[in-house]
Amino acid sequence: MAKLTPFFFLSFLIISSSLAFQSDEFGLEGAQQQTPTTRKRYSDPDSDSKVQFSLEHAFGDSDFSPAGTFSARLKSWSHGGKTLTKLRFSRNGFSDEEKDTFKNLLKGDDFYRIRLPSNVISPPGKEFVVASVRARCLPRDGLDEHFVIHMEGANILALSYGSLGACQYPRQFKLPAKWSFNSHTILKSSEQAPRTPIFTEEILGGENAEGEVDPPPERSFWAKYWMYLIPLGLVVMNAVTQATNMAEEQTGGQTGGSQVQQSARRR
């Protein structure tokens, strides 16, 4: 039992921290970082350090050039793991030259590519993590962009990049109204798979549990018997029309031949 407690404690740490990353979503323009309150309590014994890594972009087949910087706090846990929190992003606006090249991209429906180092502590790490999007997907009012950074410790696994919403196909050529970025960033770490449930008792006691199952809610009269009621209704309707026809026939027989024909046709 004594062994188990720290384990649960740790796993709670992991879970709570991973929850915290997912809530680290914020817009660039003036949005303040929300600090989850739960984390503070546990962060005390661990050391924090600041890291910075730069975002680079490329237009079509051009070379990569700096486009912005991410800064974050690197938290080292006592069990040896490292996680990134409090991610901030400052995006460099497009220069005039870049605007022109971007317009060319829009015309050609070409790719706008970005990349991040795969390790934030010792960039670029093993390799750069590259993502790209068709340039025509970005312009809305401004330039909408949405980063999802998949992390594993201090390593960046993958980068999902695109606009916030849908990108309609066929893509229309459209220039942005204003040349400023509207950036959203999410950090994601992996979810833990739930443990496979083990329930031997339930299976043994399955027979007893059978009786305790709630009876299904009583259905309405109509829901139960609609399949009988509808044919019944049809029969009744049929009978009614038959009856009226008969009556008409009797009356029509007295008035004249033309009406007899008509009623016969109707029948």
């Binding site: 087949d61 429906d109 790719f111 590519r113 795969s118 390790n119 790490g125 093993k126 390799e127 750069f128 993590v129 590259v130 993502a131 790209s132 999007v133 068709r134 997907c137 949405h146 999802v148 998949h150 594993e152 410790g153 390593n155 960046i156 696994l157 993958a158 980068l159 999902s160 990049y161 695109g162 606009s163 916030l164 919403g165 849908a166 990108c167 309609q168 196909y169 066929p170 893509r171 994601k188 992996s190 979810e191 833990q192 798979a193 739930p194 443990r195 496979t196 449930p197 083990i198 329930f199 031997t200 339930e202 299976i203 399955g206 549990a209 199952v213 299904p216």
Partner: protein, 984 residues
């Protein structure tokens, strides 16, 4: 007690049929399934033809099979498939136990043992010769990896027992044949000479006392040029080796423990010398050396002098020497001459004497002769007769005797590497392949028999007759297409580079074809097949064209070797064309476009990052250029842990003039940190899978949309420490992470880590779900997890009014660049068995529910309903959920013995399962391959769309006739009654 067992059995049967109503009756076995047993390419063969009794040959193969074959018919008496890591190094027959019977010793030759040495000389086993039961197994201590040798000396007799000498892992062992114990006390001492090489440049001779196993003397000598490894032992005190430059033959004599070298350059023997190669070892006083496609025979003289005795122009296979009568030693050689094989048996001492010269007509598609094993027998006129077992280039095994092929076995089918399906030709009017077998009387008779059977009136003879009738029934092995699509061809590519077309009806080989290199040039002597694709499947237009398959091969073993394409007509089995493509083959991507003759467009990526379009026609080019912007592909670099996505850039006109070559650009990368993750498995959906409905209705009348995308890649990674065998790490050290990655944008759609779990991962991907199997180290059990992906972006389309008014986005094109709104559901179950492979059934329209086909460690195939791996299973499903078919949650998946589709058979060495839809929606073809082949037809939800094969039409007819008669009779009666009423 018996009653209780019966009752519980009955209950079990009832329960199982209640859960999965899939199983087979005894008399249904073999009706639509077939099973073929193989052994693989033969490595060693030992004949056993002494005395009376059944003549047999013991073989060991490259598929790690040791088998005993009937020498008369080629049937398998017995066989054992050793594990994949248990390669057989040697096989010998040792005389078994010598029984002391009535004070008179006899060593039964019939009850001899087959001795095998395997796993680099670390395992020695004895099998009983008549029935193949294992008698004993000894594991030998080994220190390092080395070549291993097995020898059963006949002259070394030790106290009623013949010891076996086995060398492996740096140790020489003498083992008793009786019980596998190490021999310790031989009565008479003798010296065993052992020659070995150290560091490939030093020869060492040990003299070992066979009594104690002690090294009496040891002598070594350094040979400065180094050895190349191939050894041919010429006589008891001489061997011939090649030096490291492969241009000098070195004779090493080790008489009485003294080593002497004698060098003879190959160029002294033949004029045009090149790299030499020593063929078949163990030829007495003679070496066969292959130089420049010529085989020369070199006699080794008394003082190590070499002289050329004979030479053969073409490639020749040689047997080991065989003692024939009068102290003479013979050997066999076989080579090709035109379409015939020349088999010659000559005396070693006197090459002019040809004991046997036979030429045998041989199928072109068997290739060259690879190996020869000979055996002699005494004819009635007391002369020597020879039989030869030959292994051909396509791995087939043939027995030649008296100038004819006695039997042949297509052992190439034991190493199937890729399988695809093909349709049979349509039956033409007037040209009916099937003979008219049924007269009306026969038909009626057959149905009367069936009627008897269904009314339980049939006698045992009738039952047998019914069974026979069923087996032969309705031309199931006809060579034309049938209405239900039950008759098809499975095209299998084997490791030897041979294509086989197997008929689904009875499993026979319709045609076979050995892939030839297009130019037969030096550069590409024998291409190895990599993979198989459906090239042309005419079904809408171009109906007069025959369908064809594309075989992609490679001229060498490394991935940068140039590729070879070969197009093969499926109906005839003839090669339409083939070409050296001049670039390497990394990935072959069938595109979802076809040209006007229904040839499918394929992209082939090479090592330089270029892609090449096939077929090279302008029409294909124009089709491709239209979709140029929308073609993406990805590469997985397993060693580096990087997955890259690529898009098309431009034609590579700047570099080459080839207009069908295109450059690509990198669009995304996913980089797995090398210290924590290693890719162990990647998987995509089958490209030709059909999904019937995109939506799934929940119990609460809610609609879920499946996220059905063809561009999903399932990736499983494991901690580098945990990449080894199960149990080699602690649960804390190993984690398994699975990913679903969109291959257009590189987005990770789903990521789930399983702590304390380990590979190997076996997965199957279909529609919107993945099922994967792995090992849970904490629970010490195998687990199966299912992940289902649902699309949320279309979730608003539930409103009927939106559908009516057309305000839905169901028909809008879906772009991968939109942010995916999806969610996943997953659940894990324990699974009691270790798994070799998993597949899923596939049907023509995708309506029929699916079954997982799990190839278990016991080489059987288990069919498991997809309902069991539904993530929506709950502990207490509500009434509505039960009605929908949701099974109450259990922690482990059931293994129901009746749902083994292989019933009592085993598909030895199971490697893969292929499913293909039949035309009938309910039915799917299942083909499993390994060392054995197995085929069956499955109906996962029973055959709801057709009548059973044994449906009694006669009973139906009789019933109708009886009813009509009854109606008529009652009508007459009622008429009469009415009349009498009126008369009253």
């Amino acid at each position: 007690m018996a009653m209780a067992i019966k009752a519980s059995l009955l209950l079990l049967v009832f329960l199982s049929s209640a859960i999965v109503s899939f199983s087979l009756y005894e008399d249904q076995v073999g009706l639509m399934d077939w099973h073929q047993r193989y052994i693989g390419k033969v490595k060693h063969a030992v004949f056993h033809t002494q005395k009376a009794g059944r003549k047999r040959v013991i073989v060991s193969t490259e598929e790690n099979v040791v088998a005993s074959l009937d020498l008369r018919h080629g049937e398998i008496f017995w066989r054992h498939v050793l594990g994949t890591n248990d390669a057989i190094d040697g096989v010998e027959i040792a005389l078994g136990k010598c029984r002391n019977h009535l004070h008179y010793m006899w060593c039964s030759a019939i009850s001899g043992y087959v001795i095998t040495l395997s796993s680099q000389g670390s395992t020695l086993r004895a099998w009983n010769l008549p029935d193949g039961q294992m008698v004993w197994e000894t594991s030998l201590h080994s220190a390092q990896i080395s070549k291993s040798l097995l020898s059963v000396p006949i002259n070394l007799k030790v106290d009623k027992d013949y010891p076996i000498l086995a060398f492996g892992g740096g140790y020489l062992h003498a083992v008793s044949a009786i019980d596998g114990e190490r021999v310790l006390q031989p009565p008479e001492s003798s010296i065993i000479y052992v020659l070995g090489f150290l560091h490939s440049s030093e020869a060492v001779v040990y003299q070992i006392d066979s009594k104690t196993g002690e090294v009496v003397a040891e002598k070594s000598m350094v040979f400065p040029d180094g050895f190349s490894g191939a050894v041919s032992s010429v006589s008891s005190d001489k061997i011939v080796v090649l030096d490291s430059t492969r241009s000098i033959l070195v004779t090493i004599g080790f008489l009485d423990g003294d080593i002497s070298f004698q060098k003879t350059p190959v160029s002294d023997l033949v004029e045009d010398s090149g790299n030499a190669e020593i063929l078949s070892p163990l030829l007495s006083n003679m070496v066969a050396v292959k130089v420049n496609r010529r085989t020369i025979f070199v006699r080794v003289g008394g003082e190590g002098k070499l002289e050329v005795v004979d030479s053969l122009s073409d490639e020749t296979a040689m047997s080991v020497s065989l003692p024939v009568a009068d102290d003479q030693v013979a050997f066999a050689s076989a080579h090709h001459e035109g379409s015939k094989i020349q088999l010659m048996v000559k005396l070693v001492d006197d090459l002019e004497t040809v004991l046997l010269r036979e030429s045998i007509e041989m199928d072109q598609h068997r290739g060259r002769v690879d190996k020869v094993f000979i055996n002699n027998y005494i004819k009635t006129d007391m002369s020597n007769g020879f039989r030869a077992l030959i292994v051909m280039e396509d791995h087939s095994l043939l027995l030649l005797q008296q100038g004819a092929i006695v039997w042949s076995r297509e052992e190439g089918l034991a190493s199937v590497t890729d399988v695809t399906t093909a349709e049979l030709p349509v039956e033409k009017d007037g040209v009916s392949v099937a003979k008219v077998e049924h007269t009306l009387v026969d038909w009626l008779k057959g149905h009367m028999l069936k009627l008897k059977g269904s009314l339980l009136l049939a006698s045992p003879e009738d039952v047998a007759a019914i069974q026979e009738m069923r087996m032969k029934s309705s031309g199931r092995s006809k060579l034309t297409r049938d209405h239900n699509g039950f008759r098809k061809l499975f095209i299998a590519l084997t490791r030897a580079g041979k294509l086989f077309a197997l008929h689904t009806g009875d499993g026979r080989i319709v045609w076979s074809m050995l892939l030839n290199s297009p130019s037969k040039s030096e550069a590409c002597e024998r291409p190895s097949g990599i993979s198989l694709y459906q090239w042309q499947v005419p079904h809408h237009h171009a109906m007069d064209e025959n369908p064809s398959v594309l075989v992609v091969g490679r001229c060498g073993s490394d991935s940068s070797a140039p590729g070879v394409l070969s197009f093969v007509d499926v109906y005839t089995g003839k090669e339409i064309s083939s070409s050296d493509i001049g670039h390497s083959v990394v990935r072959v991507m069938p595109l979802p476009f076809t040209d006007s003759t229904e040839q499918r467009l394929h992209l082939i990526a090479d090592t330089e990052g270029h892609v090449h379009l096939y077929p090279k026609t302008s029409e294909a080019l124009s089709i491709f250029q239209r979709e140029f912007q929308n073609v993406y592909w990805y590469t997985v670099e397993g060693d580096d842990g990087i997955i890259r996505g690529h898009g098309m850039k431009s034609s590579c006109a700047g570099e080459t003039a080839d207009e069908y070559c295109f450059t690509t650009k990198e669009l995304w990368t996913v980089v797995f940190p090398s210290e924590s993750e290693k890719i162990i498995s990647t998987l995509t959906r089958k490209p030709n899978e059909v999904v019937h409905t995109q939506a799934k209705v929940n119990t609460d009348q809610d609609l879920l949309y499946k996220y059905v995308s063809r561009n999903l890649l399932f990736v499983a990674t494991v901690s580098p420490k945990g990449a080894g065998e199960i149990g080699s790490v602690t649960p804390e050290e190993s984690a398994l992470v699975v990913y679903l990655i969109d291959t257009i944008t590189g987005r990770i759609l789903h990521r789930l880590s399983h702590q304390g779990c380990q590979g190997p991962v076996h997965a199957v991907f279909s529609e919107n779900w993945v099922v994967y199997h792995y090992f849970n180290l904490r629970a010490h059990k195998y687990e199966v997890t299912v992940v289902e992906i649902y699309d949320q972006s279309r979730a608003e389309n539930k409103n009927v009014w939106k559908l009516v008014l057309g305000k839905h986005n169901l028909t809008a094109p879906i772009s991968s660049y939109s942010r995916p709104e999806m969610f996943t559901k997953s659940q894990s179950y324990f699974f009691a068995q270790s798994v070799k492979t998993i597949a899923v059934t596939s049907t023509a329209k995708g309506i029929t529910s699916k079954q997982l086909l799990i190839g278990t460690i016991g080489d059987q195939i288990l069919a498991l309903d997809k309902r069991f791996v539904d993530p929506r299973r709950t502990l207490n499903p509500s009434q509505a959920e039960k009605e929908e078919g949701i099974i109450p949650l259990t922690d482990s998946l059931p293994i129901i013995p009746q749902s083994y589709i292989t019933h009592s058979l085993k598909v030895e060495g199971l490697r893969g399962i292929v499913t293909a839809p039949a035309k009938l929606e309910s039915t799917t073809h299942v083909f499993a391959y390994g060392v054995d082949l197995f085929y069956t037809r499955l109906a996962p939800s029973k055959t709801y769309d057709s009548l059973a094969d044994d449906f009694s039409y006669a009973l139906l007819l009789i019933t109708i006739v009886a009813l009509v008669a009854a109606i008529y009779i009652t009508w007459v009666i009622s008429e009469k009654k009415e009349l009498s009423e009126k008369w009253r």
